[in-house]
Every structure is written in C-alpha cells, then in structure tokens.
C-alpha cells in the first residue's frame, strides 16, 4: 500500500491555480492565542507595533482579560531609528516578565517590523538566555511571509530544535520508560490536551505507542527526539516543522492524510500502522460506527455545495471530509499549498472525489477575494466557508456562511470530534432553515 501513495504528477487529476494573493486572513501572530493556552508554563512576547497589539486584543476578544501569558513589546520611534539598544530593551522587558510571571520559557514572536528593521532576534536570544537564566525561543511569525495558522508552524519549527536528545539527558534520573516494539513515534501539531489524549489512545488500540508530542503540555516536558525517530503531523499547515524535524533532527516523516473526519483519521492511523508493519484491527468498523452516528448531519449536507475562500490551510482536509459526506465542493481556496507535505491528503482528496463520483474541485492558491466573490455570485453555493470580513455581507445577500476561524479553535481531530466539525458546518444550514418562515433572504438595498 505504501508504493501506491507515491505521487505521479502526470497522473494527478487535481488542478492548481494561483491568483493575486489579495485575500483576507489573520496575521500569523494570532497563534499565540492558542499556543499560550497549550503550553502552560510559557510566556509569549510579541515584538511589534500597536497594529499587532490591536489585532491581538480585537481578534482574541475576551481572552485578553484573563491575565494572559502574552504581551506586546511595543516598538517606539527610538527602537525603529535604533536610538535604543534592542538588547538592553529586551533584557529589561524579559527581566520584568521573569519577575512577574516566572515562566519556564519566553517565546519571542518576530513581526513584520522586526523583519524590516532587521532586528537580530536569533542573535540576541542566546546571549540573553544565559544572562537571565531562561530559555528563549524565537519564531518569525510575520505577515510578510506567512498566513494565520502558519504562525504555529514557525513556533513549532523553532521548538523542534530545542527538544532534548537522549544523550543530553543521561545525567537526569532515568525514567522507567516502556519501550515500544516499533521505533519511537513523535506526533507534532498543537491540539487541546483532550484531543491529544484521544489520538494517542486511538493509536494505542492498534499497538502504536506515542513517545511524545510536539508541543507538550509544558515546555519542560518537550519530548526527546533522537536521530531515526519517526514523526507524523496532525495539522496540514506544519510543513516547516516537518522539514526541520527531517533535516535538523534527522527524523523520518510519515506522510499521511490528516486525522480530520472519520475517513481522514482512519487513513492517518492506517498509514502509521503500515509504516510500522502493523495490521490495523477493527478500524473499518470503527469508522462505520462514527459515520452512522453522524447520519442526522449527513442528511443535511448531502448534495449541498460548498465554497472555501481559503484562509487557514485546513481547507484541503475539510473539503475532502465534506466530499465524503456527500457535499459538492466548488473551489478550495488556500493561502499556501505545500504539495509535498500535503501529498497524501491530496491523493485522498482525489480518491474521494472519484469514489463519490463528483467533479474534482479547483484548488486556488493565494486567492483573490474580489474575484472569488464574483464566482460566488455566479455559483450561488449553499455554503461559503470564509473569514469574518466577508461573512455578514454574504449573509445579507442570502448566502449561508460559516466563519473559517472556528475550525482552528474547535476540536476537529480524530474519530471523536468528527461530530464537532459537522456541527459547525451544518449550523448555518440549520439556523437558516429555522428562519425560513421569515420569507425574505436578502438584506441589502442593491440587487
């Protein structure tokens, strides 16, 4: 089965297009909002301007009020014109953070401004680290290079290099570790602890032991990664992390579809098992059982059409899952398409389309929102998955929308949470269904 998964570009039925990149998405620094919650002993310092700060405070809404473990290092005119020393300024702020919050690690999130003024964060960090006695991890999650969820990718890639090796741990007390009968496996991608537990259990049923997660619940619990370990991603936007793990940590990447939807989860487990020469047991029945429990949602979705405007890189996996649910996908917009990292997901998408007998959707990289809106006007899809900038105006024009951001904050991985994905997807359909008696659909003056 392994050999079948190799990409033969000539045979691929998928079509890719690239537009102008005039689209709406969140700035990648938004990753601090979920990463600071995931990594409990961390502190995130975003080194940028008021623009960055205002984004975080507005996009993250209420979270800001619960004394979050993140802050802005707000650059002032003196910092921009290099009148002040970056090193001294950062030292002052980091010492204050250490005193007030005492974290186990400080993450520095570089922004567009630190890129443009070429602030040498990677150079300053190691010096400051030893001076203040706290590890500092530098990630350049800026809007010049990345979109939204790719922010997590830059942070995890930086963390991958901080994971310990067995040999460096020798002095510490040897924990009694059960050694699996397959090479150690590390999973990467930030998911809520409950989801990490669920996926770990899912693999345990098949006799696959997960040796660690990147990131773990605490920075001090970062997993050991030695040369020759196997790694596998759970999110589609982690290509830099994958590359770092392969090139810098000499691990072997298990390329698999992502565990989103029962189909994706099954394919993900099967792929991991196949690499370890394990025959998966009862997976098919497990998948069937989940599909059966989703029946009520599927009834709402079958033959409905959906249009992904594209802003968080989950689009391919979600589209594949929704096609399996019986939906027709018009277009998959996506900020950035790593055809190598996502190759198995793309293959599964193609296979799903063929099996479901639907046309293969166009994949539009760096979409142009204006042109997309023209296409939406023409196609009149039953559902548009889009950012919040377009959602209300589309609803006012009688088009059902689902905010894409919710998919990044909800629990969507594994068998257990398939229901949650469909809960999100069907919500606008259910809601607008129940409003049918209102007898009008358009809420604008034009058209």
């Amino acid at each position: 089965m392994n050999s079948k998964l190799n990409i033969e570009p000539k045979e691929s039925l998928l079509t890719f297009e690239c537009e102008t990149g005039n689209y709406h998405t969140f700035c990648p620094i938004s990753c601090v909002a979920w990463l600071y919650q995931k990594i409990e002993d961390s502190f995130f310092l975003v080194i940028g301007t008021k623009t960055c700060g205002y984004f975080l405070q507005n996009a993250m809404g209420v979270m800001i009020f619960s004394e979050p473990r993140y802050a802005m290092a707000e650059l002032e005119e003196g910092d921009i014109s290099a009148k002040l020393s970056d090193y001294e300024e950062l030292k002052r702020l980091c010492l204050q953070i250490k005193k007030d919050r005492n974290p186990s690690v400080i993450f520095w999130i570089g922004t567009c401004t630190t890129e443009i003024i070429k602030m040498d964060l990677e150079g300053i960090a190691p010096k400051l680290e030893s001076e203040i006695g706290l590890p500092i991890v530098v990630a350049r999650a800026n809007g010049l290079d990345y979109a939204f969820t790719q922010g997590e990718d830059t942070v995890l890639a930086a963390m991958a290099q901080k994971c310990p090796e067995t040999k460096t741990l020798l002095n510490k007390d040897n924990q009694q570790k059960i050694t699996p009968n397959h090479p150690p496996l590390i999973l990467f991608g930030s998911v809520p602890d409950a989801v990490a537990n669920q996926l770990t259990l899912e693999l345990k049923y098949q006799g696959v032991m997960v040796s660690g997660w990147l990131p773990a619940k605490r920075y001090t619990e970062l997993p050991v990664i030695d040369e020759g370990y196997y790694v596998c991603g759970v999110n589609p936007y982690l290509s830099r992390t994958a590359t770092t793990l392969m090139r810098r940590r000499k691990t072997k990447l298990i390329g698999a579809p992502f565990p989103i939807g029962p189909d994706g989860t099954r394919a993900w487990i099967e792929k991991i098992c196949s690499v370890f020469n394990i025959q998966p047991l009862g997976l098919e029945e497990r998948e069937q059982k989940i599909w059966l429990s989703l029946e009520e949602y599927l009834e709402l979705l079958v033959n409905k059409s959906v249009f992904f405007m594209g802003d968080n890189l989950l689009e391919i996996s979600l589209a594949r899952f929704l096609i399996r649910c019986g939906m027709v996908v018009h277009e998959i917009g996506i900020p950035y398409m790593d055809k190598r990292y996502q190759s198995n997901e793309l293959l599964l998408l193609e296979k799903t389309c063929l099996e479901m007998g639907v046309h293969i959707p166009l994949i539009v990289e760096k979409p142009d929102n204006y042109k997309q809106l023209e296409r939406i006007r023409e196609l009149k899809p039953d559902l548009v998955i889009t950012g919040m900038a377009h959602a209300n105006p589309l609803e006012a024009r009688g088009i059902n929308t689902k905010w894409s951001v919710e998919f990044t904050f909800a629990q969507i991985h594994g068998f257990t949470n398939s229901r949650d994905v469909l809960e999100l997807v069907t919500r606008p359909l259910r809601r607008n269904g129940s409003l049918q008696q209102l007898a009008w659909n358009s809420y604008t003056l034009d058209n």
Partner: protein, 508 residues
C-alpha cells in the same frame, strides 16, 4: 520598547480607515502586510455591517521588501478604480509600511493620472498619533482637499442657506453609540428649527463637501475627532463652531444657548429658553428622577470615571452635578487632550488621572473601592474581578455596546438612558451586597442535585480531571449525559475512554 497587554486607542491607520470608509463611495487601500486588514473584521462584526467594507490591502510581502512596491500599489489603485468606481481612493500607510520609506506620494500622483477617482495619501505619522488623532487629521485632509478643489473649479457654495443650518462633524463607523446620538441630534435640531446641512463623514459623498460653507455653523459632538476640520472651516470660511458635547441636561442647556448666541450674532432674534425649560423638566425624566426619593440613596456614593475625554468628562459632570454622586477620580486616556480634560472636571472630582496604562487604572480602582465604575470594557472587566459593578460609557467596547435598540448618550433622550445606566449600576451593587449579607441565593444544590444522585457511578481519576477541564457552564450537562450513557451500558466506572465514547455516540 514598552511592555503592553492592552491599549485604549488603536493604531493610526484604524482612525484613517474609520473616517475614509464612512464616506459614501470612498475606498481605502492599505499599504500593509497580509493580515493587517482586520479593520474589515471589526467593521463587519461590531457594526454588523451588511455591505463589504470598502477597504482592501495592497499586500506588502517579501518581494516588496526586496524590490519595493514598484507597480503594485499603482495597479491596485487603478484596479479598484475600475472595479468599484469610487469618488476617492485613500492610500493608507500602516506602521509597517511607513518604515519602508517608499515614496507613496509618488504612487498616488501616478495613480491619479490613470484613475477617474481622486487619490489621496493619508497624512499621518504612525509612531506619533493614535487612532483618534489620525481620524481627526484624515477628516480635515479630505475636507480641505475637496474645498480647495471646489474653489479651483469655482463650484464652491459660499452663499449661506436662507434659514439657519448646521453641519455635524464626526459621525463615523465604530463610534460609541454614534448612530443613536446622530438620530437624537437630528431630532434636537428639528425641534430648534435648524436645518441640517451635512453630516460628515457618515452618509455623505465627497462631492457634497463643497456645500459645507452653506451652513451657519458647525458642531463637533465628539471632541476627539472633528476639531481640526472645524478649526479649518473657521479659519478659511469664518464658520463658528461648538465643541461642547450635549450630554446631560446641564450641558445640553449650555449647548443650546451657544447655538442661540451664534444664531443671534448672525442676525436672528431667537430664544430657546422656553424649549430648554420644557425639555429639562418634562421630556427628559432625568432631572425629576434625580429629585425623586429613590435617588436619595445614591447621595454621596462613591464612583470613579474613565474613558475618552468627551464621555469621561460628560459623565463626571452628570454624576456630580445632576445626581449628587461623589466622584473619587475621573480620568482619560486621551493624553493629547489632558489640559482640556483637567479644566473640565476640576472641582467635580477629588483627583484627575491621565494615563494609557490599564493596569494603573486597575490598581487605582482596587485602592479606591468605589461603589460603581463608569468606564470602558476594560474597566468592566476590572470591576468583574473586584466585584464592583460597571457601566460602560466609552470606547473601547465590545459588540454588546452596539445595541440594536435606541440608546443615545446625547440629547434629552440620552439623559434618560444615562440615568438608567447609572441607577442600574448602583442598585445591582446594592443587591449583591444584600445577598452577601443574608448568605446569598441557596438554590445551587437544588439545581445540580437532580439526576446523578441515586446509583453512584464512580469516575476514574483521569476522567474526573478531564471533566474538570470542561468549561463550567456545560460541565454539569456533560457529566449527566456521560453518566446516563454509562448507566445504560451497566458500567460502574467512567474511564477516559467512556467519556470519549459517550461523546462519539450521543454527543455528550
């Protein structure tokens, strides 16, 4: 560098966008990296805007960093020109783009040759001014541009209107209760027999700006934005203006008297005294309400006030002069307006606080322990932590401060709204206090003790821990559903797996 968790006023470009996108048929193009167009999200979510926000980005990416924007900005402007056919395109620099030091003015000059729309570069320094100051500046810039244009083409209306008329300057999107205030002002001017010439920037097209000088005078209801424009119109066209905000019965009376004196100076012989008298005593309920015995309870109660300079000063005056409440301190985050603010509230409160630091305000509130806070959403949260009620009176605000129902702060109806807000904040505080005194509601046990009481099902330690992670407001439901699920399967213990299985099967 400054360690900052939260800010009261946004970055400059937000102010520019708020003004530019409030005009009819004006499009703003931000010179900004990907993701900086979150203004569209704010506008679409907070204002529940039905139309697409007329703001797009000319994206600054790695290529732009290496080679400059070159044709990109110009082609984005001309593209928008042909797609949307706006009257004006405002090129808006952001803090990122301003350090690139590209010659954006040159792009604007080139683009305006090719496009039908006028093209302007917003003239604001991102490291020196905040959202409000930038909004103020942008409004003046646009007004000046179109008045000079009208002078050049000889289309300016210099003739005053035959009957008294007014321009309202500073009605724009994302303002605190702005829509309702404007409706209330319209009503007030109708009552006074004064026509409204223009309301800007909201509701008008830039082509109408040439009619600005027709009005007899201008008003600037919110002093944060509009003063520069009013000053400009005064200097160039000798138009008098009023910058007093008509919030609270006393201030409304002064506001109307200022109008009266302006009109009389321009040759009218009119008196609004009877109107003020009628409205204050019988239309507005607030002055009678303050006199009613219910309000005696508020006498000498201590409050603190914080917000933008317009609202914080107005509320301080109302609390002190109209309701007999003791204001321990009043403050604003509008540092550029500190002197004016100080003069306004001097003598009405014990102390004046000027700061942009919310943690300082939190400390002060904790130290003061007032019975009620009147502030922004930030102070509301501080109040929640300290168990002190808070009435929200100023930006920055959340979506709940964009109410659907009619809730002006200005004019006579506004006085009623404010009286309710103040009164409700205090009574709630009182109620809480009494509940605590008498040991609180004791219904919690009765509510949670329904289903799971009899045949005790054991929860494993891990499952219990997992359950505790679930947010409080759904935890009870999930617990009950999982236990029901276990009972149906004759399980005696709930393990982690049981929880997940319950979720998969019944959605618990």
């Amino acid at each position: 560098m400054k360690l900052a968790y939260w800010m009261y006023a946004g970055p400059a470009h937000i102010g520019t966008l708020r003004v530019a996108s409030s005009f009819k048929n004006v499009h703003a193009i931000m010179h900004a990296p990907l993701g900086d167009d979150y203004f569209n999200v704010m506008n679409s979510m907070l204002e529940r805007e039905r139309d697409f926000t007329p703001v797009t980005a000319s994206v600054v990416d790695r290529h732009v960093l290496a080679r400059g924007s070159q044709e990109k900005v110009v082609s984005n402007i001309t593209r928008k020109d042909s797609e949307e056919q706006p009257d004006l395109i405002v090129l808006t620099p952001t803090c990122t783009s301003s350090i690139l030091q590209e010659d954006l003015q040159n792009f604007v000059n080139r683009a305006s040759l090719e496009s039908k729309a006028d093209v302007l570069l917003a003239d604001v320094n991102h490291y020196r001014v905040n959202e409000f100051q930038a909004a103020d500046k942008t409004l003046e810039q646009i007004v000046e541009f179109y008045l000079l244009k009208a002078i050049k083409y000889n289309t300016l209306s210099r003739e005053k209107s035959s009957t008294p008329s007014v321009n309202i300057i500073g009605s724009f999107c994302l303002g605190f209760h702005n829509q309702h205030d404007i409706s209330e002002l319209k009503k007030l001017f109708r009552d006074l027999d004064i026509n409204i010439n223009l309301i800007l920037p909201g509701t008008i097209s830039v082509n109408e700006l040439k009619n600005l000088p027709k009005a007899w005078f201008n008003i600037v209801p919110y002093r944060e934005t509009g003063l520069l424009t009013a000053e400009y119109l005064k200097k160039e066209f000798k138009m008098p203006y009023i910058s007093r905000s008509p919030i609270g019965v006393i201030e409304i009376a002064s506001f109307i008297r200022e109008i009266q004196s302006i009109l009389n100076q321009q040759g009218l012989n009119t008196s609004f005294e009877e109107y003020i008298h009628q409205q204050t005593k019988f239309i507005s309920q607030s002055s009678w309400f303050s006199r009613s015995i219910d309000c005696q309870n508020l006498t000498g109660k201590r409050a603190v006030v914080f917000g933008d300079s317009t609202h914080a000063s107005a509320i301080t005056k109302i609390l002190c002069r109209e309701m007999g409440i003791h204001v321990s301190w009043a403050g604003t985050y509008c540092k550029n307006d500190a002197e004016w603010f100080r003069n306004e509230v001097e003598g009405l409160c014990d102390n004046v606080v000027i700061t942009e630091d919310h943690s300082l305000i939190a400390d002060l509130i904790a130290k003061t322990e007032p019975s009620a806070i009147f502030g922004t959403q930030m102070e509301r949260h501080i109040g929640k932590r300290l168990n002190i009620p808070c009435g929200v009176i100023s930006s920055p605000v959340h979506i709940q401060n964009f109410p659907l129902s009619y809730k002006p702060f200005m004019g006579y109806e506004g006085t009623n709204q404010i009286a309710d807000l103040v009164y409700n904040s205090f009574t709630l505080g009182m109620e809480d206090h009494l509940l605590e005194l008498f040991g609180g509601h004791d219904t919690t046990d009765a509510l949670t003790n329904t289903l799971s009481a009899e045949d005790q099902i054991r929860w494993s330690t891990e499952a219990m821990q997992e359950l505790k992670k679930i947010p409080g407001f759904v935890r009870g439901k999930i617990k009950r559903n999982t236990e029901k699920f276990a009972r149906e399967r004759n399980l005696l213990e709930i393990k982690l797996e049981t929880m997940y299985e319950a979720k998969e099967t019944v959605g618990a």
